[in-house]
Symmetry: none
DNA sequence: CCGTATTTGTTCGTATGTATT
DNA sequence: CAATACATACGAACAAATACG
């Protein structure tokens, strides 16, 4: 009772038709092939076709008229000027999120827009559901923080649907490689980690352990900056000195592997962490191992979050202008909504990082 | 193809079942006869029965479980069906807000709702604008954290408008006295501050300075608990030992007045602060005055926010189940949307506080 | 206006799959 | 394991609305 995709026939037919409608292959008001045509096309019974169609009718994608045919609903076309915009973030944490939203909100409220909020938990499937949800509602624009931005995007068709409906959207923090040309506000993460690593090198560190996230753009870029600084500093890049982690194991792997390296006796005098959160956990772990920060090991964070300023050891980190980022994204989206051409855009799209020096790093006395 | 009543078989069967549900002959949660039983009862084919049932399922009257049966829904059909709900908070800070929203979001998303977010900056005028905005949009319900909940409410007419449009709403954190009977999720702030103050008294403190917010319910309630504990402990309540502040001067007044009291030489061995944020600032100020916490002065916070755990001194505070509060508010709102009567409500509305003891308080040696 | 073909709507019968008890 | 109940699927027939020559 299952087809090759492991789903019910009526369900996959329904999905296929829905995708065509969402993408615009079937346009509002257009007549669908008759039930009998669909029967021969899909090689299923009429009953199965009718089941698929009835779902789409219930969801409002289709309507049918007795004796005439089945048609794509008009109501699926979006009325502009709902004065709503959507925001999709990865997490609703107390880490970056609040100030980001604050920045978006202040600009958007000022311009008379309301914000609809969704989050993905950094899951692609949830992102797809959120996008479909927003596509079915009336929004004038969308700000999206991509989920797992470094992996190939499965949701391209949904973004293409946004294009088709002329709903502008702006990426923040990261961008899918398949959608590189879309408007986007990024932090120069490569440069940021470069500054941090260079700073560590200048303090005389020789064995800098890197801890980076493998499944988002930020992680890859920060790693790049780390490598660049090492090479400029004349130190060989050693893959053994880098710990990679993913969203799923972020709470355990980084700290455990740092501990492992130390137990193995790997020489290290500094740890460059993916962000403040990881840095805070690493510092706690080091202290529990009776390793002092910064006296024995220097640690750097990233983002300049509250943790960087309110932890046991105040961290050297990179400023993350969270609120500004939100405000800039909002302004860029407003430009898109107002069809301001690229040349006239007044929104800077690459934010330059700024090194914040606090007390988590200390000069090493280098003996030769 | 018409029966004696001039209607389709499936249609009249559907109507007959619907009438039974509406009348109460079939009660919520009750199991319907199996499809085959209905087949023999109505003398129609199983397909016809399924067609009738599927309509009622789509309208939300019924749901069916594979292998178990078909059941009458708990929920009644909602007329408004935008599947949007509004949330109005006072601030979008990284203090309470993120986890609160997280709790609301997880419940609401699970039930197919989208969240529209607005914040007031604790301003009544902004709250009025937000309410008007939501009234003009299509929302099925509203969760509101009142702004300056202790002052007389100027926006009653807007809440009455919500009543008129039958848009249910739920208050969190506080409630306007004029709207006391409305559904609401509160923390027992009086009891919370009572626990803290009692704890301080048990540690032998005799001069407990209170710092409270004057313009919201929480501040007033916490002050009440503070007074209650003092009186039970046999200490006279001294208004001079309480610092009141408002939203507008929250960033400066509390710390300045604490400093002032100390310079005046007012004897004090403990400070009970309105929340962790104030406590953190007070601790910083005390340390800058070379007063040690907790050796010289004990300090308590409130909310058990990240600050309580990640500051220079880990604070004794009251747990604020932020995420749970959000989830409970969301569930209460769903009950309102589904017209669940008060007696059948399964949402607790007063959250009991829990004392979290950390290192910001220390026993005093009392000499007599 | 009529007749025919097309298209959706309703109904029945039958068989098999799968979850629950 | 068997019985029960819902889920999916195919086939067939006829009704009712519509389109078109």
């Amino acid at each position: 009772m299952v087809n090759e995709k492991g789903k019910m026939k009526y369900f996959s037919i329904m999905e296929e038709l829905k995708a065509k409608i969402v993408k615009g292959d079937i346009k509002p008001g257009e007549k669908l092939p008759s039930e009998n045509e669909l029967v021969t096309r899909y090689q299923v019974s009429r009953h199965t076709i009718r089941k698929a169609l009835s779902i789409l009718q219930n969801e409002g994608y289709l309507y049918s008229e007795h004796g005439k045919g089945t048609f794509c609903s008009e109501r699926m076309r979006h009325q502009k000027n709902s004065k709503n915009i959507g925001v999709i973030t990865t997490y609703i944490s107390d880490y970056i999120f609040p100030r980001l939203i604050q920045g978006i909100d202040s600009v958007m409220t000022e311009n008379g827009y309301s914000i609809m909020l969704k989050n993905t938990g950094n899951s692609r499937d949830k992102e797809a559901r959120d996008l479909e949800e927003f596509l079915s509602k009336d929004i004038d624009g969308l700000i999206i923080e991509p989920s797992k931005s470094q992996l190939a995007c499965k949701n391209i068709h949904l973004y293409e649907a946004l294009d088709q409906y002329q709903i502008p959207y702006v990426f923040i923090q990261g961008i899918y490689t398949e959608l590189k040309d879309r408007p986007c506000i990024l932090l120069d993460d490569c440069q940021g980690e470069y500054l941090l690593t260079k700073y560590l090198l200048e303090l005389g560190h020789k064995h800098i352990l890197g801890v980076f996230k493998a499944d988002d753009r930020q992680g890859i870029q920060r790693h790049k900056g780390y490598v660049k600084a090492l090479q400029e500093g004349g130190l060989a890049y050693d893959p053994e000195m880098v710990i990679w982690f993913h969203t799923e194991d972020r709470r355990t792997k980084p700290v455990l592997e740092v501990e492992e390296k130390i137990r193995q006796g790997v020489p290290l005098d500094a740890i460059a962490c993916y962000n403040d959160q990881i840095a805070a956990e690493v510092i706690k772990k080091l202290q529990s191992l009776n390793i002092r920060v910064p006296e024995d090991v220097s640690v750097t964070g990233y983002d300049n979050s509250y943790m960087a300023e309110n932890s046991i050891v105040n961290m050297t980190t990179i400023a993350h202008p969270q609120e500004q980022l939100g405000a800039m994204a909002a302004e860029l989206l407003l430009e898109q909504i107002r069809h301001v051409p690229r040349e006239e855009s007044r929104v800077e799209r690459l934010i330059q990082p700024e090194l914040i020096v606090r007390e988590s790093c200390m000069r090493r006395n280098v003996r030769i």
